[in-house]
């Protein structure tokens, strides 16, 4: 009995902690079906589907969601491009000043967001740049680049260089080798980096808050609404974000599993075919 407990208490604690981590999601999903008793109430009052059928009843909120998506998409494309180029340089090339570049990439991840947000604000004000949509994009690209570099670098340094050498030995040009071998192999890393960048950008509040001017992103909308009263549709967006992300994870896991199964089956099939043909 003591052994049984000793073996399982860790798992028990772990499940309790997972419960603590999941509780707010359950509450958000529940509140998305709530008709609150008053604007400033956070308690569950009455079941309704209205929030889901009319998610844009407060049009400010949907405008903010759209703006966050626009900013997220632009910041993702730019930061993924810049970060991927840097990752290639770091993994594939020798150059002077590597320590400096590594520091420049590491520091933004170790600096409190508050400091990055206020310092950019100080710069924009000193330079007389009016704040708005594009200053948010600039800030988001800045803090996303480092995460892209780290993610792509991890994929790139784990790659088997012999595959590229084999392609070159088989008379593939540099461009063909890159298109047919390197890019497909690094692509999962680049996609992961892009998804990470988008979610960082979409959810950022602190840095955005200092550099938004009068532009309102979704987190900024929620922050403002917390003082005036939160429309229940905010929870619909929260639940939908969660569901979409979960679907993406599920789909990529399934595809990975199918690809792995195919990889197992393919050699067998390749060996099997000539035999059955003969």
């Amino acid at each position: 009995m003591r052994r049984w407990i000793a073996d399982r208490w860790v798992m028990g604690v772990a499940l309790l902690v997972l419960g603590y981590l999941s509780l707010p999601i359950v509450v958000v999903a529940g509140l998305s079906f709530n008709r609150p008793s008053s604007r400033l109430s956070y308690d569950f009052n009455e079941f309704t589907l209205d929030n889901w059928t009319q998610p844009c009843a407060t049009s400010d909120m949907c405008d903010a969601v759209v703006r966050s998506m626009e900013i997220g998409l632009i910041a993702t494309v730019v930061s993924t491009l810049l970060g991927t180029l840097m990752a290639f340089a770091l993994v594939r090339h020798g150059f002077r000043g590597r320590a400096g570049i590594n520091g420049l990439i590491f520091l933004p991840m170790a600096t409190p967001e508050l400091v990055m947000g206020t310092s950019l604000l100080a710069l924009f004000v000193a330079a007389g740049v009016p704040q708005g949509f594009w200053t948010i994009v600039i800030a988001h690209v800045m803090f996303c680049v480092s995460f892209v570099v780290v993610t792509v670098k991890a994929r790139l340094s784990g790659m088997d260089r012999r595959l590229e050498e084999a392609a070159m030995d088989l008379y593939a040009s540099e461009w063909q080798t890159f298109r047919r071998i390197t890019l497909p192999l690094v692509l999962p890393g680049i996609m992961a980096a892009a998804l990470l960048a988008f979610s960082l950008s979409f959810d950022d509040f602190i840095i955005t808050n200092f550099n938004a001017g009068t532009t309102v992103t979704f987190p900024m909308y929620v922050w403002g609404a917390a003082q005036r009263g939160i429309p229940p549709q905010v929870n619909v967006i929260g639940t939908a974000m969660f569901a979409i992300a979960l679907l993406l994870v599920g789909a990529s896991t399934l595809r990975g599993r199918r690809a792995r199964r195919a990889a197992l089956v393919a050699p067998v099939a390749a060996v099997g075919t000539p035999k059955s043909a003969s």
């Binding site: 569950f44 890159f178 967006i237």
Partner: protein
């Protein structure tokens, strides 16, 4: 784009001179856009913030600030807001201890005990992050609400007085900080513990080590890199956070972030806000480097 595929050519092929010079330039070309972005929008702003922290405190945004090398801004800001500094570090330290007590067993269970459920449990740790940070934090307002089930239960068992509250207390803020940054602690810790060879623990127990001693002598030292990375990833954002204090606390629980936010966006006192930001960064950096030196693993960086 061809450049990206630069692969060392086989020894027999004569490398043309112009190509070689291109490939020597190539890494710098690849680095240039990203490095320039970080220099202009990360490093340069820090210098501007340093300058702003020394502006004449008598100026204003409309009349403009004069650079007077006003080093007095620092002691003045510290004197006015030292309780907020103390509170920031105290709250995030308590939250860190709570997070370690919860996060270590969780990371260990996923890495060593979960078997085929490993990936599912990992998703369960990461998944809450998919929903907006602010929306999740607001959910705690519902959970800790005065009319909620939790407060009702605690009042019934007399852990809380009849008028006792959870919301708008330091407890709520610390709980929110712990919740919001726990995954940043768990994931690196998991990565370290996943590589732990369970045969080492069997060997320890074969040599008559108690489970506690085996943990002290084997598990803990081997998980050190993940533990250090995780505590830093937790501590840095938690200390600079002001969302939890704003949404779950009252002005009595305000942390230094709330003060800096209002200095820049409400009071428009840029010299003071800049001085406070710099003090926060200096304090965090001092703690981080002191900690890394003590832990003796500088390669984490």
């Amino acid at each position: 784009m061809t450049a990206l595929a630069h692969v060392p050519t086989s020894a027999g092929e004569p490398a043309a001179a112009p190509r070689r010079s291109r490939s020597r330039l190539l890494p710098y070309l690849l680095l240039l856009p990203g490095a320039a972005w970080l220099l202009i929008f990360f490093a340069l702003p820090l210098l501007q913030l340093a300058a702003a922290s020394l502006y004449d405190p008598g100026g204003s945004l409309s009349t403009g600030y004069a650079m007077t090398w006003a080093f007095d801004n620092y002691p003045a800001a510290l004197q006015a807001y030292w309780p907020h500094f103390v509170r920031s570090f105290a709250y995030s330290a308590i939250a860190l201890v709570l997070a370690l007590l919860m996060g270590y067993p969780l990371a260990y269970a996923i890495a060593q005990k979960a078997g085929r459920w490993k990936n599912l449990l990992l998703v369960a740790v990461v998944a809450p992050q998919f929903t907006s940070f602010l929306v999740r934090t607001l959910a705690w307002k519902t959970i800790l609400s005065d009319n909620g089930a939790l407060v009702g239960l605690l009042r019934d068992v007399h852990l809380l007085g009849p008028d006792g509250r959870l919301l708008a207390t330091p407890f709520a803020v610390v709980l929110g900080l712990t919740y919001n940054f726990l995954p940043f602690l768990v994931l690196p810790l998991y990565a370290s513990l996943e590589r732990l060879d369970s045969r080492l623990l069997e060997a320890a127990s074969d040599l008559y080590a108690s489970p506690l001693r085996a943990f002290q002598k084997v598990t803990l030292p081997l998980s050190m890199p993940g533990l250090i990375a995780g505590t830093l990833l937790f501590f840095i954002p938690a200390t600079g956070d002001y969302i939890n204090a704003e949404l779950l606390g009252t002005p009595n629980e305000y942390m230094i972030g709330n003060v800096i936010d209002s200095a820049f966006l409400v009071r428009l006192d840029y010299p003071q806000g800049a001085a406070l930001s710099f003090l926060l960064m200096a304090a965090i950096l001092a703690i981080v480097f002191g900690y890394l030196r003590k832990a003796g693993t500088e390669e984490v960086l």
